[in-house]
């Protein structure tokens, strides 16, 4: 489990804005993939996962504003109550922001456990909103996406950390022209 934690041993450079925006956009597209039946229920909210990653690892770049805007886009894409995702994303972002210093010292599987909690918070806040506006409880499988999301967290974290591990300039000792 020593190499499950990429951070303390490797010096990283700050993520580029283009990469942050690109990853969020890619997650949005992946969320729009059509599916049927069980696949839809098990499909994790990738936008929430990537958003959580950036809130934890670049809290001053990605915050409430981004969470809110992404939430609005998800509301349009899903055709749900306008502001429902935005509300839940902002709440989850706040919780993640409160936890981000602690989470940075954990290894990926410990983080995944916390992320499960955060995703469930996301689900519960959306559930409460919809129940308040008169929807019926969709059944316990509603929370299944959060479990898949948490399981996906180590993989996603590793992938999103990769571009930051490359050296910024040629290492010392290489001849300069």
């Amino acid at each position: 489990m020593a190499n499950a934690d990429p951070r303390p041993s490797v010096l990283t450079r700050p993520p580029s804005s283009r990469f942050i925006v690109g990853s969020l956009l890619a997650a949005l597209i992946a969320n729009l993939l059509p599916g049927t039946g069980l696949a839809v229920l098990l499909w994790p909210d990738l936008v929430a996962l990537v958003l959580l990653y950036w809130v934890i690892h670049a809290p001053r770049r990605v915050g409430f504003g981004s969470a809110w805007l992404l939430g609005l886009l998800m509301d349009i894409a899903d055709g749900v109550l306008f502001g429902q995702h935005a509300f839940a994303y902002v709440i989850t972002t706040y919780a993640a922001w409160r936890l981000h210093r602690r989470l940075q010292t954990f290894n990926l599987w410990q983080q995944a456990l916390y992320v499960l909690g955060l995703l469930l918070l996301l689900d519960v806040s959306m559930l409460l909103v919809r129940l308040a506006f008169g929807a019926a409880f969709p059944g316990p499988l509603y929370f299944a996406g959060s479990a898949t999301g948490a399981l996906l967290w180590p993989l996603l974290s590793t992938l999103l950390a990769l571009p930051q591990r490359k050296p910024v300039s040629p290492p010392y000792g290489t001849p300069s022209r």
């Binding site: 700050p14 949005l28 059509p34 670049a58 349009i76 008169g134 930051q164």
Partner: protein, 293 residues
């Protein structure tokens, strides 16, 4: 940790708690406005212009895969299907002839009785793009929008019955709420005895129910429920549901009636969007209605 911006010492902006509160309040206002008022249509449309092309792009490979799979069907299966379709067409054309005669007779009789003519409808074929991901509602997206004269309120059917109703029309796509959605109501009539009722979706497992019917209501399992046409939205006579279970418990004021939809609500790739050729007469103003009572 790997953050390039200066520490909060130099540049802070609003404190996070405050920003959090502002955005939560903003979302709450949006939700209330969306649920209680209808001012947000324009904003929704504007954002949809950005999201819908993304959805189309994402759907394209999936649709392509379906088309490729369609291309590689066996010759014998095609021939069999062709034969079946030919027979069905023959049978239907016979029924159509009968229908034409009946329609002429009906128009004649209505003219004799001085009754209003029935409103005609034109149908438009639409393909189902995908089902919406919202687990709280039963909705589908079709590939016809306001550019193709699809409007909110139009009725969507398949060859066996009512599928749902268009609830939002975007330029190129439209959102259809299925009759199995919890908030979707269809005014119906029992084909056996003409009893009027309203069918609601149960929102759970693709079934429907008929609430607020007294325990002695004349509905038995097997009854066919068709649209009554009383609302001026659904054309009369379209099959909606079949009653499968009636529970009469004297402890409750209403009977519990479960139905199954007549249409293949979750099954088809193509549906028909009905557009009425003549608008229904305007409702009488509320004051007049109250004064008459």
């Amino acid at each position: 940790m790997n953050d390039p911006t200066p520490p909060p010492f130099f540049k802070t902006g609003l404190p996070p708690h405050l920003r959090f509160t502002i955005f939560v309040l903003l979302s709450a206002v949006l939700m209330l406005a969306d649920a209680r008022l209808t001012y947000l249509g324009a904003l929704r449309q504007a954002l949809a212009v950005f999201v819908n092309p993304l959805q189309h792009a994402v759907n394209a490979p999936v649709r392509l895969a379906g088309q490729v799979a369609d291309f590689f069907v066996t010759h014998s299966r095609l021939r069999l299907e062709n034969e079946e379709l030919r027979q069905t067409r023959l049978r239907l054309s016979a029924q159509l002839l009968e229908l034409e005669a009946l329609r002429a007779e009906n128009a004649h009789l209505r003219a004799l009785l001085d009754a209003r003519p029935r409103y005609g409808h034109t149908a438009q074929l639409a393909q189902i793009l995908y089902a919406e991901r919202d687990p709280f509602s039963r909705k589908i997206i079709i590939d016809r929008g306001s550019l193709h004269h699809v409007e909110a309120g139009q009725v969507v059917v398949d060859e066996t019955g009512v599928v749902g109703q268009v609830t939002r029309a975007y330029p190129a796509v439209a959102e259809v709420t299925l009759i199995t959605d919890k908030n979707q109501a269809v005014p119906v009539q029992n084909l056996r005895n003409g009893l009027r009722a309203v069918v609601f979706g149960s929102g759970q497992d693709g079934t429907l129910n008929v609430p607020f019917m007294p325990t002695n209501a004349d509905l038995v399992p097997g009854d066919q429920l068709v649209t009554s046409g009383l609302d001026g939205i659904y054309p009369p006579g379209l099959p909606v549901a079949t009653v499968v279970r009636v529970e009469r418990n004297a402890a409750y004021p209403f009977a519990r009636i479960a139905c199954l939809p007549a249409a293949g609500v979750d099954r088809h790739r193509h549906v028909l969007v009905l557009r009425s050729t003549a608008p229904p007469p305007p409702r009488p103003p509320a004051e007049v209605a109250r004064g008459k009572r």
